[in-house]
């Protein structure tokens, strides 16, 4: 890929890719590393311009999946620690916002990786055919799978909220 092309791609794809990976991993630092690695890999490939977007999202998803697995335990400890320290020191509105964000993150964690990937790719505007190719299903199945994943997320979000609200 030519340098000018790469810069244009970088400017266009950095925000949605960062947002996607951050949502997938729930970890801003990991997202930064993964996005960086994804663009590095793009440098090695001479792809047609219209294939770059789906390609780099799949690469980032695979890297994120590996990262999540390897760092799962450590990340959970960090999140737990952040919750404790945040609860002790934040003003009330910040605390509520932090809690809501944690609810979202926990609800996403309850989904399978495939469900999470499909929901997040759809949210980024990928067509069903692109989602199907990325996760290895038929494009005619994507609607049903995403609809099911949406319901799972809603249920998980509700369940996590109820769990958090119930007295210890």
């Amino acid at each position: 890929m030519k340098s000018d092309d790469f810069q244009a791609v970088y400017r266009e794809l950095y925000p949605p890719l960062s947002r996607y990976v951050h949502r997938f991993t729930g970890d801003a630092d990991a997202a930064a590393d993964i996005v960086q690695d994804s663009f590095l890999r793009l440098l090695e490939h001479d792809l047609p311009r219209d294939e770059v977007r789906p390609w780099i999202f799949v690469v980032a998803t695979n890297l994120a999946r590996d990262r999540v697995r390897k760092k799962e335990r450590r990340r959970r400890l960090l999140v737990a620690n952040q919750e404790r320290t945040g609860a002790a020191s934040s003003p009330l509105d910040d605390l509520e916002r932090t809690e809501r964000i944690e609810l979202v993150r926990k609800a996403l964690e309850r989904l399978s990786e495939r469900d999470r990937q499909m929901l997040l790719m759809r949210e980024e505007g990928f067509r069903y055919t692109e989602i199907a190719e990325a996760v290895g299903v038929r494009s005619t199945s994507v609607g049903a799978l995403v609809a099911r994943a949406l319901k799972k997320f809603s249920a998980a979000y509700e369940a996590v909220g109820e769990t958090n609200a119930s007295p210890e």
Binding site: A32, D37, L40, E44, G125, Y128, S154
Partner: protein, 263 residues
């Protein structure tokens, strides 16, 4: 037509059905309250997910702005764009410059650097490549700069049309508008002294009462007729897949414009 299943309904809402099939679903919906209810439920769940994800995004306010390629920042001493990890020395920055040359060489077909990279093969690619081409070490999304009042929402165009009206913003507010490939429009407001109110309707979004701030509007390229208004006056619109500015522009790239309210 029999009742469409949830997958079909969602595909219809997402504009993913073939025209004939979509027409069939639409005609069925006109006479079937049950399916209309299920479609509404799916739409609500979809919007709920969008809102939830935008909340998650608040943790990484720098996501919207890639900034310049960091290697460019390093070469030009751009003060506002930090290298990702603290403690990077001048030697590391110099290393970046050298490796930038390597990365550039890697782009040239037949170059030794490219041949070497290609020889690394598929196995253990991360370990092999990461230290070799840090020239494009990318700007990290900054969470430290996150504004406490950042808020956002996404909204889907209605039949390709969308009106975003920004109301009550002060004269020093900047409106950043860009095109994306996403299906939904995304609006984020940052740095405001109060949380704005978002009022959505079919193909409309009013952002109300946030005084001064930075407003980031991402419009779907696929929207046939999308307009960003400021207090009811059209400022930026999409025409033929391009952004057209109706107000004086502060800054502009091909698909990214910034206007200042009050100018």
């Amino acid at each position: 037509m029999p009742h469409p299943n949830d997958g079909h309904l969602l595909a219809w809402l997402d504009g993913e059905l073939e025209p004939e099939e979509g027409t069939g679903v639409r005609e069925h919906m006109e006479s079937c309250g049950e399916c209309r209810g299920r479609a509404d439920s799916l739409r609500r769940e979809s919007e709920g997910l969008s809102r939830a994800l935008l909340m998650l995004d608040e943790q990484a306010a720098g996501l919207a702005d890639p900034g310049p390629l960091p290697v460019v920042a390093a070469l030009h001493g751009h003060g506002s764009h930090r290298l990702r990890r603290t403690g990077w020395s001048l030697a590391r920055a110099a290393g970046l410059v050298l490796v930038a040359a390597g990365a550039a060489a890697a782009l040239v077909p037949g170059s030794p650097v490219r041949a070497w990279l290609e020889s690394l093969g598929e196995a253990d690619r991360t370990a092999a490549v990461a230290p070799a081409v840090p020239a494009v070490e990318l700007e990290a999304p900054s969470t430290a700069d996150a504004e406490p009042t950042a808020a956002g929402i996404s909204v889907e165009p209605e039949a390709g049309g969308l009106v975003v009206d920004l109301q009550g913003f002060g004269r020093n507010s900047n409106v950043h508008v860009r095109l994306t490939d996403a299906r939904r429009a995304t609006i984020r407001v940052e740095g405001t002294p109060e949380v704005p109110r978002f009022v959505t309707g079919p193909g409309t979004l009013d952002v109300i009462g946030a005084r001064e701030g930075e407003i980031w509007v991402e419009l779907p390229r696929s929207a046939r007729d999308a307009v960003v208004r400021v207090d009811g006056e059209a400022a930026v619109r999409i025409e033929d897949g391009h952004l057209v500015t109706l107000w004086p522009v502060q800054d502009s790239l091909r698909e990214d414009v910034v206007i200042r309210i009050g100018n």
